[in-house]
Each structure stands twice: as C-alpha cells, then as structure tokens.
Symmetry: C2
Subunit: 199 residues, 2 copies
DNA sequence: ATAGTGATGTCAGTGACTGACATCGGTCAC
DNA sequence: GTGACCGATGTCAGTCACTGACATCACTAT
C-alpha cells in the first residue's frame, strides 16, 4: 500500500460533481471538495487550475479524436466530410456515459462561469480542428470556417441529445444537424443563383 | 453642477482600458481602476458585475441591431440571408471605431478569462439571433444552426479585420466569409448528390 | 545507509467580490 | 420653505478563490 490513497484526481473529480449537484456550483467551497476527497484545498489546486476546471479535465482525449480522425480521412474526402467523420467519432465515445454527461451538463447549465469555461474549451477544439484541416491543405479562412461550423453542429446536436431522453444516438443527431445546416445555407444559394450550379 | 462628476461608468471604462493596455489585465487591481476614475472599488462593482465586464458593457446595442435587422428583413428573405443582413449591419457600426476595437481586442487576446467572457457574449448573441429567426417561423434546429453559423462567420471575419490593417471593410469581409462557408459546405453536397439539386 | 523525488500538508498572503450601513446633494409633495 | 425621500457614492468588515514558500515523509535508486 502506498503512502496515499490512489487516484487523488479522480476522487476530487467525483467529490466536486457530487457537491455541485447537491448544492450548486457557487454554494460549494474548494475546501469542502478537498475535504470530501480526503485532501486539502492546496492539493486541489495542484491538480486543477481552478474550481471550474475540475469539471473539464479530460477534454484532451476529445481533441485527439477530432484531430486524428481528420488526419486519417482519405485524401479525396472533402473538408466538411472529414469534419463530419470527426464529429461522429467524438460523439460515439459519449455512448456509455449518457447519464454522467446529463448530470455534468445540469451543473454547467446552472452557472454562467461554467458555461464560459465550456465555450472556451469548444473554441479550443475548433482551433485544433482548423489546424488539422490546414494540415490537409485547406486554406484559411475555409479551414476556420469549416471547423467553427462543425463545432456549432456538435453543440446543437449535443444539447438535443442531453436534454431529450428519447433522442437517438449522438452520432445520428450530429449527421442530422449537419444536413440541416447544409440545407439552411444552400437554400439561399439555390434561390439566388440556381443556374450556375452545374456550370 | 451636480454632486458628482458626470459619467462615472464611462470614466471607469476608459480608466480600465488604459490600465489593461499599460500593464495587462491581471496586473491591474480594481482599486487602481477606481482610483484613476476618482471613485472607490465598491462603486466599480456597482457599475460592473466583475473586473472583466467593464470591457464588454454595451453589447446590448449589438444584440438589438442583430434582432431588429432580422425582424425587419422582407418575408421572402431566406433565414441565412436575413442573418447575413444582420451581420453586415452590425459590422457597419465598427467602421468609426476600428482603432478602439483593435486596442480592446489586444487586451482580450492576451488573457484567457477575457476570451471566455467574449465567447459567452457571442453565444448570447447567437441565442438572440436564433430567437429572432424563430419569430420569422424558422423551426429548430435550423434556427439555432443558422444563428451559430452566422456568429462563426462574424468571428472569423472580425479576427481578419482587426488583425490586418490592409483588410477591407468589416461588412465586406463578412460577405466574403459567408460565401466561403457556403462554398465549404456545399462542396460536399455537390460531390455527394449532384443529380438531386434541381429535382 | 544516504541522498534524492514527488505528492501532499501547512501557513501566510493578495485580491475579487459582497452585504450592511452611513452620507449627503437633489427633488418632490405639501 | 421644509421635511421626507431618493439615489449615487463611500466605508468597513467579511468570505473565498488562488498563490508562493517551505516542511514532511514514504518510496526509490545507488
């Protein structure tokens, strides 16, 4: 047996989510989280940069899936389709964690500061995605725009998936949402310049 | 003459931007900002919810332009074109404030917390935009997706406009970026289902 | 053994933010 | 006019997120 109980970071993560669910993010002090995990406040801040980050640690895995899937897409795949593959692959890993995702999202939805943190994580994902597209030869600003559109699709699909228990799989919702976005943008193009489409 | 110097809020805004530029956001205390404005720390927090908000107060006007322009678009205008009109209208109001926008953005770009605040303001704009589209009869999730795509276009265009002095007008950049996004999404559609387009 | 090493604890401090109460010109009812 | 009220500001004490410096001590390598 080691000098300390194992998995201090995991204990802190679980204690924090429990307490945030019980009383709300603002009503919980870091000292309480650390106490429930059998640690001290100072140790909490050695594992997480701040009180919010404890809910977001582990996003690195998601970024890796995005980047690797885009990089692995066949050379003939269009940028938006490469992004679609990445979104579906990322969506798949939530399959087993739907209840956990729902609980976590309930905490985030109740606090503006946590929403801010979530948004900057998504923006960081979009930046990584744009970088992966650039490495495929997609020029700016197309790379950033495609990446931002992809993250927007992910956001909208995720909200639907989390909020409605009857919704289908997340990857399925992502496909539907992407088609919906394409339709919404193309409607305008068809209406404005229908004769040029097959030129 | 009144009991106090006028425009306390404006004095706080100007003092904060000056100090953030001189020494960086984190190296400035609220007490210093208030002192330069001839006020106390407590009064700062009566005008702004927190130290970051002093850079973002006034976003309400932007939201009004977005919402009003979408509401005023003719009934035959497609959702994405209504959003495009709103983005161009919003972009136009930055015309006279390019230097101010550049200075402010330099401060924001140097601090993660300020970027978080900027992102939640943009997300709030997207939500307002989606609401305006719903009031035109656009169903979900098309309304949210169109709004998010519009904000993504605005973000990308704004970054280009602020970072490159040689760039054209912001409304012009917004139009270009939107066309670029349409092209990026439609490429896939044309490649996958070219025969159905005029069906 | 002895000298690290690394995760943790202890402690003192800074600064953002809040609640309660005081101040005091200006304004309004009468 | 005068007194009641109002609203922007000041004062003060407090909480809590977060940080830096230093101590501890089981474990490990030599």
């Amino acid at each position: 047996m080691g000098r300390w109980e194992p998995d201090a970071r995991g204990r802190l993560e679980r204690a924090a989510l429990e307490l945030y669910l019980e009383r709300g993010f603002e009503q919980v002090t870091v000292a309480e989280i650390a106490g429930r995990a059998g640690l001290t406040e100072r140790t909490f801040f050695r594992h997480f940069a701040d009180k919010r980050e404890v809910l977001f640690w582990g996003q690195g895995a998601l970024r890796d899936i995005f980047v690797d899937t885009v990089a692995a897409a066949s050379a003939s795949t269009s940028p938006i389709d490469a992004v679609a593959e990445a979104l579906a692959a990322a969506g798949a890993i939530f399959h087993e964690r739907r209840e956990h995702a729902r609980r976590r999202q309930a905490v985030i939805d109740a606090n503006a500061g946590l929403q801010e943190r979530e948004l900057i994580k998504l923006a960081s994902l979009a930046a990584s995605l744009a970088g992966a597209l650039r490495r495929r030869g997609v020029p700016e600003p197309a790379a950033s725009l495609t990446a931002e559109a992809g993250i927007a699709v992910f956001k909208v699909a995720f909200v639907r998936w989390v909020s409605d228990p009857g919704e289908p799989d997340l990857p399925e919702l992502i496909r539907e949402s992407l088609d919906e976005l394409k339709g919404a943008l193309i409607t305008g193009v068809l209406a404005n310049a229908p004769t040029t489409l097959n030129g």
